[in-house]
Symmetry: C2
Subunit: 202 residues, 2 copies
DNA sequence: CGTCAGTTTTACCAATTGGTCAAATACAAT
DNA sequence: ATTGTATTTGACCAATTGGTAAAACTGACG
């Protein structure tokens, strides 16, 4: 087992290297498709050495998922129920798009986990995540009732924002191939802003 | 090697069973994560028997991808440049959503392939797919120029429709967990129709 | 210098994986 | 019934996989 917190500098460094290598592997090949040998090599150490820091493949994967879920929902929590509806929703979409741009591997790790049926985080989805979405949905429903945004299904609006923004990380290869160039996040931001504004402004 | 076309009834049946089992496995675990043993068991035959019909793991995967790409783009081709813009675009989105509902495994297979960097279909993406999107983009750009839909980046609009609709297949577990129930495609259709209409109608 | 926890390496293992081969069996046409 | 082809099986294999055990090394501190 892994001690709850790393102590020495070398532990901090090596655990970070392993998690980074694991993120590479798991986000690209999924849990079963990634191998410890591959992770160890990317991390620049031998497999037994890697296993000195993490109890096993599961431990690396679990650590990555926990670390991810911790920060993944923050943008949603930042929505201000007392703010301007369109500004708040567009701001949330922009923050999610920023996450796709800055943490594409994390986005793909999450996508892989969901694609595989979310075996490791199913309880999180129907627990914490559902509760948070339920809260925000009430706010959005109120905004719609007050006529400050167009009528909309709050939960499906949230799904839409998730899909629209995560797509640019998860399907990066396809987006790049179709566009013929790589730096598309600014254009995506303009497009999503304009499109969502059109969909929301009464 | 596999003969180009199956001949006997038993070949047709067994090849279909293998492809179906392979679709289960590959869509859930990706190429590397799926195993021949697993596919053979699901298909109800021994591994050597399976390998009598397909040259190897790659052959099954490739056959699935080709079969998929063949039909995946059809909805896009059905867009009528001379039709009503909003009707055509909303109709396309609806057809894509129908695909997500009726062929979720195929959608996940595609998502897995892209997540892994599209090693098997990269040339298809920057070839056929790009060419087709380029064509449609011209039509959409004209519609926008003529003021028949709001100003929009045509290619990013297509990405948006892809992400919005495929999300309901690829992230099914998450959608179900957050909603608390499973039959959501009718609601999704209403939501997407309303949202896209708001984003497009001038 | 010696010591001792912290770290790394070498050698290894059992299970799984993709795949082969030849023998055995089912089946269709004569 | 017999023959030739299509199909299936059982035995097997080399490579890879996740993981272990113990020896060897490192470096800070008394």
């Amino acid at each position: 087992m892994t001690s709850s917190r790393p102590r020495t500098r070398i532990q901090i460094k090596n655990r970070a290297a392993i998690l980074d290598a694991g993120l590479d592997a798991f986000s690209a090949h999924g849990f079963r498709g990634a191998t410890l040998d591959q992770i160890a090599e990317t991390a620049g150490m031998s497999k037994p050495n890697l296993l000195y820091y993490f109890g096993g493949k599961d431990a690396i994967y679990t650590a990555l998922l926990e670390q991810l879920l911790d920060t993944w929902l923050d943008p949603l929590r930042e929505i201000d129920p007392d703010g301007d509806p369109v500004t708040e929703i567009l701001g949330y979409a922009q923050r999610k798009l920023d996450l796709s741009r800055d943490y594409p591997r994390e986005s793909r790790l999450f996508a892989n986990e969901i694609l595989q049926g979310a075996p490791h985080i199913h309880s999180h989805l129907s627990g914490d995540l559902k509760a948070l979405v339920d809260d925000i949905a009430i706010v959005i429903a109120r905004w719609a009732d007050e006529g400050r945004i167009k009528a909309v299904d709050p939960r499906h609006l949230i799904f839409s924002i998730w899909s629209l923004t995560q797509h640019y990380a998860d399907f990066e290869v396809q987006v790049t191939a179709v566009l013929g160039h790589a730096a598309y996040f600014d254009d995506a931001a303009i497009h999503l802003n304009r499109m969502l504004r059109g969909a929301l402004e009464p």
